[in-house]
Structures are given as C-alpha cells and as structure tokens.
C-alpha cells in the first residue's frame, strides 16, 4: 500500500469501511465483519499505551460496566459475558478499572511490560474495610 501511485486509488478524500456490500452490520460481530484494510479496526494502536488493564475473571460478575464505559469499544463481551480486552485498540485510560464494582476489582492497571500471569497470581485480596 505504501507504494501505491497517484493513479491507483479511488478519487476523493474517502475510504471504504468494508470490503464489498454489507448487510445487518449491527447484528454482525466484529470478528465476522469484512472490514477493509483502511478501517481503523484493522490498525493496531497498542503502542499508544503505557499502562494496560489486566482482567481477572475470578472476580468478575459480568455487570458490563466496563463494556458500557470503555471509550474505545475495547471491552470484548459476548452474550453479556466479559471475555477480555481488545489489546490492539485499548489506550490504557483506566476507565474500566475505575468503574469496576467488584471487591477486589476484576480489572487493574499495570505497566505495559508487566507479566500478566504474574500479576494474576499476585492479585490483591478482598478489601475488608470496604462495605
């Protein structure tokens, strides 16, 4: 694509979201959509992030608060069950951690280079002072 010449693209400052015709896009899961290579979904912006959320499913109650509040649609939820985080698009803002209501939280922020297995193994215990 980087070597495409001036005569090799569609005219106008426009990009197509999908390859070919789409139908019922709201009823189609992201992984099943025919995103075009120009769609921002296809670009990883993981390197914008310096801290990352880690998800601990042991404490999650599937309340969907993180899914609702995530400004980048980066919480993956299927059939109202929290599945994980889209780490290609998460910017590390921490809003999911802020809104998580469980004790201990089911999402916590760690430095980008932190090892996920280690952090899950050392997950904080329930804070008894919180009511």
């Amino acid at each position: 694509m980087a070597k495409t010449g001036w005569n090799e693209f569609e005219i106008g400052a426009m990009l197509r979201s999908f390859d070919g015709k789409i139908d019922d896009i709201a009823g189609t899961l992201q992984e099943d959509r025919a995103y075009s290579k120009n769609n921002s979904f296809m670009a990883s912006v993981a390197d914008w992030r310096i801290i990352k959320p880690v998800f601990n499913k042991d404490f999650c109650i599937d309340c969907q608060f993180c899914w609702v509040y995530c400004p980048d649609i980066s919480i993956i939820s299927r059939d109202k069950k929290m599945v994980g985080i889209d780490m290609d698009h998460c910017k590390g803002c921490g809003i999911c951690v802020e809104v998580c209501p469980t004790n201990p939280k089911s999402l916590l922020m760690f430095p980008e280079q932190a090892d996920e297995e280690t952090e899950l193994a050392n997950w904080p215990a329930k804070d008894e002072e919180k009511k």
Binding site: W6, I11, A13, K21
Partner: protein, 407 residues
C-alpha cells in the same frame, strides 16, 4: 413528479441572477445551503421562491455564514445530492477554506459567483478579485459575459462536474450588476429539455449508500497527500477540457448556442487583440468592429474557461497576432496581472513574436468605456508599427490622478 413545471416563453427578459436561479430550478437541485450577499443574493432567493412555490423538490438550508453555506453543500454533496449555491466577494473569501475541501473531496457542487470587488475599501460592485482568489482552489471556472451565458453555463457546469470521470466542483462566474442586475433577452430551454440535458444525478461513493459505508474527508500526511493532489491536478489537466468541449458540442445541438474554451472574435486576420473576461468582452467586441472601420485589424479573445486554464487553445488563438493586451480586472497587488502572466507562459515557448502588454482596469465596478478601448487598440497598433512595446508593460486604465504604470 411531485413538483410543478413552469411554462417559459421562448425568450424571457431576465437578469443574470434570475437566469441562474431559473437554471437551478430546471436542474432540480436537491440542496441549496446559502447565505445572502450582494450582488448574488437573488440567485438563492430565486431558488428559495421556486422551492416554496413547489417548482422544485429540494431543500433550502439557511446557515450563519458563507463558510457554513459551502460546508453544508459539501455535506449534502457527500451524502449524494445535486447541490448548488451562490456567493460574491467577501462571502466567497470566507468560503475559500471550504472550496479546497469540496474539490479535494471530488464533490460536484456548482457555485454561482457573481463577481464583486474585495474590501478594503468596502465595495459592492463588480470586478474579478473574487474570481482570481478562487483560481488555485481546484474548481472548474466558467465565465459568463451576459445573462444568456449565465443561464447556459449552469447546465454545462452540472453536466461536466457530475460526470463520474470528472467529479470536480464548478463555478459559474458573472459580473456583479453589469450581468447580474442587467435584464436582457434570454433564450430559454423548456423544463424537460433542460433537465434532459443534465440528466438524473448519479451518486458516487455517497454516504447515503448504507450498504457501502464510506468515510469522507479523511486525513493524509506526507505519505499520501501529494498523491491525492497529483491525481486531482492530473484530472483537471487531462480530463476536464475534453469533457467541457464535448458538453459544449452537446449543448450546441440542443440549443444552437455554441461555446468554446477560448472565444475568438474577429481573430482570423487580427493584428492586434485584447484578452479579457466578463462583460468587457462584449464592449471590446463592439470596439474591435469600429477599429476595423479605421483600418486597425482588431480582434478579441475571451476566456470562457479560466480553470483548467486552456493553455494550448490560447496559444493557438494568439499565434498570428502581432500585439496582445491582457486586461486584468483585479489588482495584482505587487505583480504583473494574472492574465499577463498566464498568457506570457502560454506563448513563451512558441514561435510568436507578439508584443505583450498588460492593463489593470475596472476595479470596484469602474466602467471600462469604449474610449478606453479605442485608445488601447491604438496603443497596440503603435506597438506593432514600432516593432516593440512602446508603453510600460503594466498600465492602469481609468484611474484618476497622474498616469499610473509600471514595469
């Protein structure tokens, strides 16, 4: 159709503004987003009245500025509608930022520009400052010299702009007041003939095609911007003029009125000629005829299409004349005039030995009289007789005070 047709006489007495408004009605514009400014206001007012009276099926969007007017037009055009508006002068200047958006996004909007001077000092009368301001904006620019042409060129503008090989916005220029407010006989097309000529609007990459979603107005940096601009320039340089010529031919078949990229009057054997635009072309034609009675073989070249600039056609039109005057109706503000420079560029690598001199005239609606042109043709003949330009290269016509000339 849900709207009424209008019965027109074969010849109607219309000023340039009404002629343009009637053309917009007959083209059945879907969206007009407009902000009023003298002297172009009656064009969009006219469309609004036709809409209110059920002669058009469309939408009139009232906005808070000309910047918003063109922005509204851009949105409507990207959505997939036939879109037009009108403006002048300061309003045009305020639109400039969005003019580049419209052309870069390849949206076939038609803008009627009723030419007017740019402040300061504030002035509502006609000169070509606003037309010159738009000349690098990537739009096609047609120039009408009278109401008939303002009417005809609107149809031609839509037909060219909306072609899927072109997809570039187009301006139709007419002189403020001299054309816009001067009523003349205008030969009309019937509503069916006119609409049949421009045809149904054929959308391309429109946002209302929900099965093929597109993002319009994307950002590119050093990695892509140059390719987009190159593509646009390529299409302007290679595709637009042939398409305009084809459309001029089609329009002549329909109406009997034939337009040319470069209009030549009395040029077949001319020794001296003026190159100009707008209503001045008609004055110059009359004077050229009178000069011939005095033994001066005078001709006139009128620029019909200012952008893309008909470089080769102008060089061909001027190849046999001995002295040329370029008439710029806009202050060059520190340079030779635009027409002087463009035409010097056309001729430089040709075999012509024509003597080229430039004139600045008519700023802020100052009249260009026949006397001015008689004197000008005599100066050109004196140049021919002397074998060199005997005057400064840039002279001002019709300005009070000591004779003003440069270069």
């Amino acid at each position: 159709m849900a709207f009424d047709k209008m019965e027109l006489r074969e010849i109607e007495v219309w000023d340039g503004n009404h002629a343009a408004a009637q053309a917009m009605r007959q083209c059945q514009i879907d969206v007009v987003a407009a902000y009023p400014i003298t002297p172009s206001t009656p064009i969009v007012e006219g469309y609004a009245k036709f809409l209110a009276d059920n002669y058009v099926e469309g939408e009139f969007v009232m906005v808070e500025s000309e910047h918003a007017a063109m922005s509204g037009c851009i949105g409507a055009a990207a959505a997939g509608g036939r879109v037009a508006t009108a403006t002048s002068s300061q309003g045009f200047a305020l639109m400039v930022e969005t003019l580049y958006q419209a052309s870069g996004m390849r949206l076939p909007i038609v803008l009627n520009v009723v030419n007017r001077a740019l402040a300061a000092p504030l002035n509502v009368n006609g000169d070509h400052s606003d037309m010159y301001l738009g000349r690098d904006s990537g739009w096609i620019q047609f120039d009408a010299y009278c109401p008939q042409e303002a009417y005809d060129l609107n149809f031609i503008a839509f037909k060219v702009a909306e072609d899927h090989d072109i997809r570039l916005p187009a301006m139709v220029h007419q002189d403020g007041f001299m054309t816009s407010h001067t009523a003349q006989g205008v030969k009309t097309l019937s509503d069916d003939e006119a609409y049949g000529f421009v045809g149904d609007f054929k959308p391309m990459n429109d946002m209302l095609d929900f099965e093929h979603p597109v993002t319009h107005g994307v950002q590119t940096e050093e990695d892509w911007h140059f390719e987009h601009k190159a593509r646009q320039h390529n299409d302007l340089m290679t595709k637009v003029l042939p398409k305009i010529e084809k459309t001029f031919e089609d329009f002549a078949k329909l109406s009997g009125r034939k337009y040319n990229l470069v209009e030549r009057y009395d040029m077949d054997d001319a020794d001296v000629c003026v190159v100009c635009m707008g209503t001045s072309v008609e004055t110059a034609r009359e004077v050229a005829g009178e000069m011939r009675a005095q033994g001066i073989k005078a001709g006139v070249v009128g620029i019909r299409v200012l952008r893309p600039f008909p470089f080769m056609q102008i060089a061909a039109a001027l190849k046999d004349v001995k002295a040329i005057a370029t008439l710029d109706r806009s202050s060059p503000n520190g340079a030779a005039g635009m027409l002087f420079n463009e035409i010097a560029g056309c001729l430089y690598n040709t075999d012509t030995k024509a003597l080229l001199s430039g004139y600045v005239y008519g700023l802020g609606g100052r009249d260009l009289t026949k006397k001015h042109l008689v004197d000008l043709y005599k100066e050109l003949q004196a140049n021919v007789d002397a074998g060199k330009v005997t005057t400064p290269l840039q002279q001002f016509i019709g300005v009070r005070g000591p004779k003003l000339s440069f270069l």
